[in-house]
Structures are given as structure tokens and as C-alpha cells.
């Protein structure tokens, strides 16, 4: 599987993502600088975590308008799998590729801890190797993970099975609506999530639950 990771100024988990992708797919991913205008021909495009542009205007707002995002939108339309993690999820929302927005955590504090994630939809390319309702463990590390969408958008997301991951009961770390941790677009190729599966891939991390997500994509591509 060929993959690319977009690097914005202020991205800081791009190295974690590059490492995870290479470890799991066996192919070195391409790092793409934000000023580029064309993405390489790949099976998966990842927008990694971090604080692009310092998150100074609004998380993901400036990166959502970066040069490279025009081609990300084009690729999304053409059906290429796009995944945004943490800041990447925020950027996908800001770029209009996913509905809703990620607001400041309800407790108004950054939170880094391991949480349980419940698979709400195991029929996506990103979760097919999990089972529906399965709870797996994954770290979160963010200050703005409080997912919000309009009642119409939310009803559509819930109705169409576009809510892919939820924080397990009682473990919502940020106050997000309906415990939403990850969503997918209606076409099923653009996926965003707040937690960090790339930090849950080897025994050193305490568990390898996050690996399954990458293996799902790997299987979908094959």
C-alpha cells in the first residue's frame, strides 16, 4: 500500500504516523510539504496530528486552506482514501471534507490519556478488521476534540452510519456530541478521528489495538 503524509508547519505527530505506516504497510510513505500542489499517486493520504500554524486562528483553520488542500479535495472526490487524525481531523472539518467542527474540550484543558473506543461502524475501510461494538484502547492528546455538528448534520451522520468510533461509556474526554470520536463522509473514503491509533501499534505502547485500524485500510486496498 502506498501512502502519503502531509506536513504542515506545526505538524508534530507526522513522524509517529510515518513510522506507523512504514511498520505496518512495509512501504515507506511519502512526506508531502504543505506548499506542494499535487499529491503523489497513493492509496491513502494522511493528515497527521499537531498544531498546524500553532492553532492560532482556530484549530485547522489555516491548514484547511493550504495549497495542498486543493488536491486533497480533488483526490477525495475521486475516491482516494483520506484519513485525518487529531489536528488532521480538525483540518478535514475546516476544509469542508467532513461535516461539523471540533471545539475546545469541555473542561477547557488539554487532555492526554488512554480511553476506550467503541466501534460504531465496522463496515468502513478503516474499521473492517474490528467487530461492531468492540471496545479498543487508544490514547487521546488534544485540547480541541469536542465534536459538534448541527442537528441536521448529526441526524444524517447517525442515520447513515457515519459515526465510526465513539468514546466508550463514561470515557468521553472532551464533551463531544454523542461521544463521537471518529466520523466518515457519506461516500466512505474520508475519515477523521481525534485519538491516536499511530501511538498504539507495538507492545511498547501497552497494546497494539491501533494497528488493526491500519490493517483494515491495508486489506481494503489489497
Amino acid at each position: 500500500m502506498k501512502s502519503a503524509v502531509i506536513v504542515f508547519p506545526g505538524s508534530n505527530r507526522e513522524r509517529d504516523m510515518l513510522y506507523a505506516l512504514e511498520l505496518i504497510t512495509g512501504v515507506k510513505p511519502v512526506a508531502v510539504w504543505h506548499t506542494e500542489t499535487t499529491l503523489p499517486d497513493v492509496d491513502l493520504v494522511v493528515l497527521p496530528g499537531g498544531f498546524s500554524y500553532g492553532d492560532y486562528l482556530r484549530t485547522g483553520a489555516i491548514a484547511g486552506r493550504a495549497n495542498i488542500m486543493t488536491d486533497v479535495a480533488r483526490k477525495a472526490k475521486a475516491g482516494t482514501r483520506i484519513m485525518g487524525v487529531c489536528n488532521g481531523f480538525q483540518i478535514l472539518c475546516e476544509a469542508g471534507l467532513l461535516p461539523g467542527v471540533l471545539m475546545r474540550n469541555a473542561q477547557l484543558k488539554f487532555v492526554c490519556k488512554e480511553v476506550g473506543l467503541e466501534v460504531a461502524n465496522a463496515k468502513t475501510d478503516f474499521t473492517s478488521k474490528y467487530s461492531e461494538g468492540q471496545v479498543w484502547h487508544c490514547p487521546v492528546a488534544h485540547g480541541d476534540g469536542n465534536y459538534f455538528a448541527s442537528p441536521e448534520d448529526l441526524a444524517r451522520l447517525e442515520g447513515e452510519g457515519q459515526v465510526v468510533l465513539r468514546y466508550a461509556k463514561g470515557e468521553n474526554p472532551n464533551g463531544s456530541l454523542n461521544d463521537i470520536a471518529g466520523i466518515i463522509n457519506d461516500r466512505g473514503n474520508v475519515f477523521g478521528m481525534m485519538p491516536h491509533p499511530e501511538n498504539m501499534i507495538e507492545p511498547l505502547n501497552g497494546a497494539t489495538d491501533g494497528r488493526v485500524l491500519f490493517e483494515s485500510v491495508l486489506e481494503a486496498v489489497a
Binding site: 508534530n12 513522524r15 509517529d16 498544531f51 492553532d55 488539554f110 492526554c112 511498547l204 505502547n205
Partner: protein, 738 residues
């Protein structure tokens, strides 16, 4: 003669923190009255923070060399060889005064400064820790300072992208008007790609990189060298503002530039900004420096030479570049959206010249700015010895279990989860042991090697007996590293004290240094970097002597590490080390009985410390131990409770017959560990301990959901955990009346 539009009055000299005799020294050195810019430069170079004028004499007594030491104190950070062509580069530095005035920005820029020290030398930061000390919880400012400092530390490190993996948090009334924020950072570099600040070559371009210069932080270092009084609030403008986003860009740009081979010398602009960095680079290389301030990228218009030389704007670097590579270098910086400007050159005349609008604003002998800084042998008196407390004079608690629950919920003893969950401790994906253990462990690259990190000091011991307290701080770090299975390599020290002009404070300083030196020599644990913060006083009252130690250890194989959590039921708990029931200066005496500052500090037997640590480490590496925890504040009972809470599993202890239970369990004798192992392995283990001459006795078994401490009523783990986890979040959620 250069123009001087401002008359230098004694008042102006005093405002710059210079004593009359120090000013006379300036007049003697340059043979004329200094200009205002020159006076500012001298004040920046000769203040305590930059010149170490009160501490230098004593710092020289510390051991700073060793087989693995590549670079000791004097550079931006210490460099230690970890084999395979790799080095760990680390340092700890205080940002106490700014953090009290403006907690969020003060702490944030403290983190920024120490990260810069590390990557200036070519290292990519892999770990950050911090030692924080706040006033008593009931003080009206404490909650506000805790909230601001923690948010500031987290906000900077999280955005920059370094895991913040541990440290210390303490509360004490002596920090009411003067909190301590000591930030530690460590980075990884190849031993053949380490960058230093010594400028080489005449006529080479001096390049300014990073953020623009503004009026923030002017005289920050001078402020850090003065006591606080009621007007402290007015010093807010001297606090710098941090921008972790710029720092992250600066990191990537610097590492890219270093890899390109264009960098000859590099120095970050920290305390006293442009002045200190330019003078150090020139003086170290035996070269003069000429600066044209018109070329400095400024954030504000109309800045004077004086302001520019003293600004402490953050995220800035100074480099000497290979002139042939100037264009490549500029391209790299522009790619990262950072300022790049040639602002001067090296010269061969050993003068430090500063030009502004075509006029010479300063012309000083560069060597004398550093080398000729005053150095004091300040009078000191040794801290009087405290009287010992006899065990018989310390009453036992009515209910041991409840007392333990109370102790685990003390401000100094409770869980720090509320703090470290605000720090990204998992980024980079190499965190093998995160916050909450004896030492944090970070894997190196793809392994199997790993490094362990810890910070420690027990200020109440240092106050009671500076020599023993100094020894204890080093020994506890050594113990923490050994307890995870790491070989202790070297330390950095962050020496926080009150006003050194008072002989009793200077006596604390001298005593602590003596203790630190003794321990470092006995444990082959050299000091490779450090920082001194004096004048930590408010309205004439000093803080507890707080020589915080940061230490680094090496694990050859990350899979051979130990953690504190109990792993399985029916395992044997073994106590390593000698127990005499030392209750002097203990948490039990201070906080349960309210007898503050009573008794002697526990004595550290350095030979035993070394023996016990080496034994525990070798057993961890042999895979024979299932859990390991060092014993410190609160003694055996607290260590046991922490192991139980971490593992979600209780234990039953057998009662000692030679000591009262509370003295045995809450005493704070040094050089001890609790370990667990399967029962069937016990006999062989005790045999090996005996062979190694290490005291080891079986004191109980794991299992159940409660702690049974000898004959006392058992206490449930749930009750202990609630008490332990509850205090800090509850305290921070309280509405405070100001």
C-alpha cells in the same frame, strides 16, 4: 570616544542591579564612563543569573568528568555518550521569577528556553520533565499559579511536540511568594554531529535566525537576580511571551541547516538575549564581534540599541555560518517561514562593537565582559545541626490504615494525574514508562536501547541538613533510575536558593554543593550541566533550599525494565536495605503530627546506596523481579500503597518485631527498595542478596483488594485510591476567594 547622551548616575547604576564597587570595576576596565547601552550590556553579563558570581567558586568543586562525558558544564547543555555513536544532551533550568509574575507565560518560556538549549547543540528533543514548587494550598495565589504554570508547561511542550514525561510537584509555605519552575529537557544527537557555541574564523557572517525582536523581557535576567517585594506585579512587562509554533519551526529549520553542513557555531538567545549570545560566541572563540543592529528583524519600530541588546524575545538563534553556504541557509529558513538576517561579523580584535543608525553605541573588551565578571567568596555559616527525634517521642496513630489514607491525600503525596494528563506524554510513540513511576523511560529510535529520566530533591531534608540533603537528592535520583533497571549516567542540577548575601543562605548553598559533590563522586555520577537560581526570596524570607537534580540513565534493552505496579497475586514482597525507623524530618512527623522541621534528616550511606542499586538493577536485568519501587517520602507504607494502587491489587504485611510498626512503616531510611517476585524464586533471590551483602527480608504477600498492615485493621484499596486521586482535582476545582 563614543557619544553618551545619558549621564550615568548612581541611581541608574543601582537600577541595573550593579553594586557601586562593581560599577567602579567597569570604570577601571574600560577607562571611561560607559554609555547607557554599555551599562545595560554589563548589567546583563554581570548579573547573578548569567555570571554565577556567587556560586562559581563552589560549582568548581563538583565532579564534571567521566568516561561517558563528551561535554560538561559551560555549553548550552551537557553531552553524554550512550554508545553506538549516539549522545544524550540534557539540562535543567529555572524560570522561577517570571512564573510567579505571569504563571502561564513564565512557565511556557521556561520550557521553550530549555528545549532551545538542547536543540541548539544539534539534538532532537525526546523528553521534557519539570520540577514545580508552589506555596501552601491555602495561600490565595497558589491555585492560580498551579493552573497557569501547568497550562503553560503543557501548552508549550504539547505544541512543540516533545513528550513531557515526569517531574515533581510540591507545596510549601516557603514558596508562597516565590514558586519554582525548573524545566528539564533531553535530546538525542549523533556524537559526530554536535554543535557548539565557540565561534571560529575571522570575518565570518553572524546570522540572526528565528522570531523577531520585540520589547519583551528587557532585563529579565536582572529581575531573576533580585529579590521580590510588594512591587513585583509591576515587573510583568519583563516577562517574555512564548510561541511554541515558532520554536517548532526553529527546531526543524536548525536541524535541517545543521545537516546541510553550513553551521560553524550556534548559540540560542536566552537570558540577556543578543548580548549574552554574541559575547559568549566571540569570547569562547577568542574573537571580537561587530553587530549592526539596523539589520536585526524587529517586531516594533523605533527600538533603541539598549532595548535590542537587552530584549529577551523568545525563539531566536545566533549562528556563525560558512559564507559559501549562506544562500542555502537562507533558503532553508525561508522554507520554514522564519527570519534570517546577517547582523554582524566576527573580528580579530577582541572588541564587542554595537552599531545603530551608523553610530557606535558600545565598544567593549569582549573577554572582560565574561572573564572579568566579579566573583565573590561570600561569607557563609554552616546550618546548625538539628536535634534527633527518638522513636519513643513519636506517638503511633490510632488507626494505621486511615492515617495512610490521610497521608496519600496530602498535597505533597497525592496523585499528580491532574497535572500530567495535561501534558502530552505519548507523542513520538517511544514512551515505555510514562509519568507516575520512579523514573520515566523512553525508547531510543526503534530500540532496543532506552533512556530513563528522573528529577528529585527533598527540600525539607536540605533545610535540616544541607550536606545530607544534597547527598539525598543525588542518591534518590540514582535509586529512581536503578529501580526501573537503568544504569545511572550523569546529572544536571538546578540550584534554587534564597539571597546569597545572607551567610546562613550561603551556608545552605555550600552545604548542598558539598553533599551533591560527595554523592556524585561516590556514585560515579558526574554533573554535566546546570543552573543556579539565587535570590528566591520575598520580603526578606527565603525558600527552602531546593537543589533539584535531574538524572539520566541507560537501559541496554527496553524490554528489561521494571515498573511499580503489583503484577500478580500471591507474590512475595521483599524489602531491600536497612530499616531503622528514622522519623526525623519525615512526612509522618511533619504532616500527620504537625511537627514541622523536627529531627535530623536521614543519612545516606553512599556505599550501601551503590551496592543496593547495583543489586536491584542486576536482578531486573536478569528478569527475576516482577515489580520494583524505591522507598522515599512516607516510607514503606506509602511505597507499598503506591505499588498496590498501580496494580489494582492489595497486600498483606507481616509485623516486624524489633520496631514499633509506625516507625518501621513511615520511617524514611534511605537506600531502600520494595520488590516483588514469585514465591518459588524467593530462596534463590535471598541467597543472591546475601552473597552480594545486600539486606533483604520478606515482608509480605500480594493479593486481595485491601492492605493489611500487620495487626491493624485492613484498609481497602478503593478507599486509598479515592483519597490519593481525589485531592488535587478537588483542590483545583475549588472556587477561590481572592
Amino acid at each position: 570616544m563614543i557619544r553618551n547622551d545619558v549621564t550615568i548616575t548612581p541611581e541608574l547604576v543601582a537600577e541595573h542591579g550593579l553594586k557601586p564597587d562593581e560599577y567602579q570595576r567597569i570604570l577601571d576596565l574600560i577607562g571611561r564612563e560607559p554609555t547607557l547601552t554599555e551599562l545595560g550590556i554589563f548589567s546583563a553579563m554581570w548579573n547573578e543569573h548569567c555570571s554565577y558570581k556567587s556560586s562559581k567558586k563552589w560549582l568548581r568543586t563538583l565532579p564534571t568528568t567521566g568516561d561517558r562525558v563528551i561535554c560538561g558544564p559551560g555549553e548550552n547543555a551537557g553531552v553524554v555518550d550512550i554508545g553506538d555513536g549516539q549522545a544524550i544532551i540534557f539540562k535543567m533550568e529555572s524560570h522561577n521569577h517570571p512564573s510567579y509574575i505571569e504563571p502561564h507565560q513564565g512557565a511556557a518560556t521556561g520550557v521553550g528556553g530549555i528545549l532551545r538549549d538542547v536543540f541548539t547543540m544539534g539534538a532532537r528533543p525526546i523528553a521534557a520533565l519539570n520540577a514545580l514548587r508552589f506555596g501552601e494550598p491555602s495561600h490565595p495565589r497558589t491555585q492560580h499559579i498551579v493552573a497557569g504554570v501547568v497550562a503553560g508547561v503543557g501548552g508549550y511542550g504539547n505544541s512543540f511536540g516533545v513528550p513531557t514525561i515526569g517531574g515533581e510537584v510540591n507545596f510549601d509555605p516557603s514558596y508562597n511568594g516565590n514558586c519554582l519552575v525548573n524545566a528539564f529537557a533531553a535530546g538525542l544527537a549523533d556524537t559526530d554531529k554536535i554543535f557548539y557555541s565557540e565561534a571560529k574564523g575571522v570575518g565570518l557572517p553572524l546570522v540572526y535566525l528565528g522570531s523577531k525582536t520585540g520589547r519583551d523581557g528587557i532585563h529579565g535576567a536582572t529581575m531573576a537576580s533580585a529579590e521580590f517585594d510588594h512591587d513585583t506585579e509591576e515587573k510583568r512587562p519583563t516577562v517574555q511571551i512564548g510561541d511554541p509554533f515558532s520554536e517548532k519551526l526553529l527546531l526543524e529549520a536548525c536541524l535541517e541547516l545543521m545537516a546541510s553542513g553550513a553551521v560553524i557555531a550556534i548559540q540560542d538567545m536566552g537570558a540577556a538575549g543578543l548580548t549574552c549570545s554574541a559575547v559568549e560566541m566571540g569570547a569562547k572563540g577568542g574573537l571580537g564581534v561587530e553587530l549592526n543592529l539596523d539589520m536585526v528583524p524587529c517586531r516594533e519600530t523605533g527600538m533603541s540599541a539598549y532595548e535590542m541588546m537587552l530584549s529577551e524575545s523568545q525563539e531566536r538563534m545566533l549562528m556563525v555560518l560558512d559564507p559559501k553556504r549562506e544562500k542555502d541557509a537562507e533558503a532553508i529558513f525561508h522554507k520554514w517561514g522564519l527570519d534570517f538576517a546577517v547582523i554582524g561579523k566576527t573580528t580579530d580584535d577582541l572588541r564587542f562593537r554595537v552599531m545603530r543608525h551608523g553610530e557606535l553605541m558600545a565598544d567593549l573588551p569582549i573577554k572582560d565582559l565574561g572573564d572579568q565578571a566579579p566573583e565573590y567568596d561570600r561569607p557563609w555559616i554552616a546550618t546548625p545541626k538539628r536535634n534527633a527525634v527518638a522513636i519513643g517521642d513519636v506517638p503511633a496513630p490510632n488507626d494505621l490504615g486511615e492515617t495512610l489514607a490521610t497521608m496519600l491525600a496530602l498535597p505533597d503525596m497525592c496523585s499528580r494525574r491532574w497535572v500530567w494528563e495535561q501534558y502530552d506524554h505519548l507523542i513520538q510513540g517511544n514512551t515505555a514508562i510514562g509519568p507516575g513511576g520512579d523514573a520515566a523511560v523512553i525508547r531510543i529510535g526503534e530500540g532496543p536501547k532506552a533512556l530513563a529520566f528522573t528529577l528529585d530533591v527533598t527540600p525539607r531534608y536540605c533545610a535540616a541538613d544541607p550536606v545530607e540533603g544534597g547527598k539525598q537528592a543525588v542518591a534518590e535520583c540514582w535509586r529512581n533510575l536503578s529501580a526501573v533497571g537503568a544504569e545511572p549516567l550523569a546529572i544536571t542540577d538546578n540550584l534554587n536558593f534564597g539571597n546569597p548575601e545572607k551567610p546562613e543562605i550561603m551556608g545552605q548553598f555550600v552545604g548542598c554543593i558539598q553533599g551533591i559533590g560527595e554523592a556524585c563522586r561516590a556514585l560515579d555520577f558526574p554533573v554535566v550541566s546546570g543552573n543556579v537560581s539565587l535570590y528566591n526570596e520575598t520580603n526578606g524570607k527565603g525558600i527552602l533550599p531546593t537543589p533539584a537534580i535531574g538524572a539520566v540513565g541507560l537501559l541496554p534493552d527496553v524490554s528489561q525494565r521494571a515498573t511499580v505496579a503489583f503484577k500478580a497475586a500471591d507474590e512475595t514482597i521483599v524489602l531491600i536495605g536497612e530499616t531503622t525507623g528514622h522519623l526525623g524530618q519525615s512526612i509522618y512527623l511533619r504532616d500527620i503530627l504537625g511537627r514541622r522541621d523536627e529531627g535530623t534528616a536521614p543519612v545516606v550511606d553512599l556505599a550501601a546506596e551503590r551496592l543496593h542499586g547495583n543489586f536491584v538493577r542486576s536482578e531486573i536485568r536478569a528478569g527475576s523481579l516482577t515489580a520494583v519501587h524505591d522507598i522515599s517520602d512516607g516510607g514503606i507504607f506509602v511505597a507499598l500503597a503506591e505499588m498496590a494502587m498501580a496494580g489494582g491489587m492489595g497486600a498483606t504485611l507481616s509485623t516486624p518485631d524489633d520496631l514499633p510498626l509506625h516507625a518501621w512503616g513511615f520511617g524514611e531510611d534511605q537506600g531502600r527498595y520494595l520488590v516483588t517476585l514469585p514465591e518459588k524464586a524467593l530462596a534463590h533471590f535471598l541467597g543472591r542478596a546475601e552473597m552480594a551483602n545486600v539486606p533483604a527480608i520478606c515482608i509480605g504477600q500480594t493479593g486481595g483488594k485491601q492492605l493489611t498492615l500487620g495487626a491493624g485493621t485492613p484498609i481497602s484499596l478503593e478507599r486509598l485510591t479515592q483519597a490519593h486521586e481525589g485531592w488535587l482535582p478537588n483542590y483545583m476545582a475549588q472556587a477561590v476567594e481572592v
